[in-house]
Symmetry: C3
Subunit: 208 residues, 3 copies
């Protein structure tokens, strides 16, 4: 896999570490608890991806850079906590960036291991979303993915877009920035305009 992919992956770990650390601090975890949630959020999705794809070694176990960037993201979140809370929904923003970066990486791994297209998209969504799911399970909340903001849908659409570009238009590393931006912008728009799925539950209000 190319170098750009590696940088994207580390950047994703950094973003998810911040999102994990903020969630942990919102739940009043002690400093090491904050670090652990940051770590699990950052590596959770990619670890599950590597476990599922046969013969793929777990990415962070043999590449120390991840640990450094996860610690850096955690320290960043702790130090700038007060300022981050003044920003509009920083947890939401870093979570979205991580989702976008990891989705694209997951799809790429699927392509590299010759999975069919549906499973490539599943692998992308799983890589993007699973870290956040574990984070929410560990702090004992219903994972955000299931209740709000059409989280998984955005990842699936972004993964499908990337697959389409890569297979049918232009397979070039720079092209991966298109689905990354697509996911980030789409999720921001969806949340800003409070778009929601048509509800399955007549008489109830939609949740998203």
């Amino acid at each position: 896999m190319d170098e750009i992919l590696n940088y994207i992956s580390i950047l994703g770990a950094f973003a998810f570490a911040i999102s994990g650390a903020l969630t942990a601090m919102n739940n009043k975890f002690d400093p090491f608890g904050v670090l652990i949630i940051a770590f699990v959020t950052a590596v959770g999705g990619g670890t599950m991806r590597d476990i599922l794809v046969e013969g793929k070694p777990v990415f962070w176990l043999y590449e120390p850079a991840y640990i450094y960037f996860i610690v850096a993201g955690t320290v960043f979140a702790i130090v700038f906590r007060a300022k981050l809370n003044l920003m509009l929904k920083p947890l939401f923003f870093f979570d979205t960036v991580g989702l976008a970066l990891y989705t694209v990486i997951g799809v790429q791994v699927g392509l590299a291991y010759d999975l069919n297209y549906i499973n490539c998209i599943i692998l992308g969504t799983l890589t993007g979303a699973f870290g956040g799911v574990i984070r929410d399970i560990l702090v004992n909340e219903v994972p955000v993915i299931f209740k709000k903001e059409i989280y998984a849908t955005v990842s699936i659409l972004g993964g499908a877009l990337y697959l389409f570009i890569d297979r049918f238009w232009w397979s070039h590393p720079a092209m991966q920035f298109i689905p990354i931006l697509f996911i980030i912008v789409l999720r921001l728009l969806i949340v800003h305009y409070k778009v929601a799925f048509p509800t399955l539950y007549k008489g109830d209000k939609p949740k998203a």
Copy 2:
């Protein structure tokens, strides 16, 4: 593995997908959330089995039929939701069918990989019950397996029965329908007659 086994496995995925989709709808998840819970419930047990058994590729990643049947089960549950709720405990029924089918498959995989008998039964129970455990964790409930209806016990007994038939009586593919029916009927009977384990907790009422 023989063809019958493959059909049983896909049927189990279908049944568990329905059970997962119903649980998600009871918790008012959005449509993609419903699909995800259906997917995780359907593949969770088998995925854990394949991860644990060395060198076994994860079953759904290389066999697209599972995805189609999981989607079909989810759509079925969504479309017939109103009618399903009129039936007596459909969630319970599909969950039991999935448990029975996956238990037998898990034991067979254990035999194929030369595990000892105890671990074959554990693998069967894990394959049968783990999808439902993840389902319940994701919707933030104490997994039904631990509190009600002697869920795991039925799976263990069914797995042991299958092992006994296969090793000491008649090793024939058709024989696997005996433990499957045994598990379904036993669980139905236990729930109908409200059989419960003798409680460990003096002065308390039994939970089952």
Copy 3:
């Protein structure tokens, strides 16, 4: 791996099985539920370790002794339940012993598979703490690791101490008892003197 390591690992499974069984009984699980929580607590950390480290078979699947000792620990916890509840925090004690034994084993596996030092310590902490995390998730509590008693910190410090002794002082099997005792004593002291991390949350009381 040497024989002492094997005995330590089985002893750790025994201790964690007791801790899991006690937790399950505190939550009024039925007998098989108690056994399952005991099993998951006992093998959870080691299983995650073996899944992550490439090419390492899952330890309990090919070594029946673990099952026997887990059943023994469960029966022990059930039989002596009343007496255990008279003792001071038996759950806490067995959990600490399991944490200490599994931390050292995890670090040793990391060394055997040539991981870098940071990942050896992570593997040790994960092996030691993950079983308890799953136990707490399954009974639907925020894992104790994140809220109380500087649980992970003790494991990380013990793992680092073992690494230091093994690499820079004396690499001898008997040396592993030093970090094991260190972890047990340190955690007992921390809880007894109610030591807590300096809090990140001004104006709040520390949690530990």
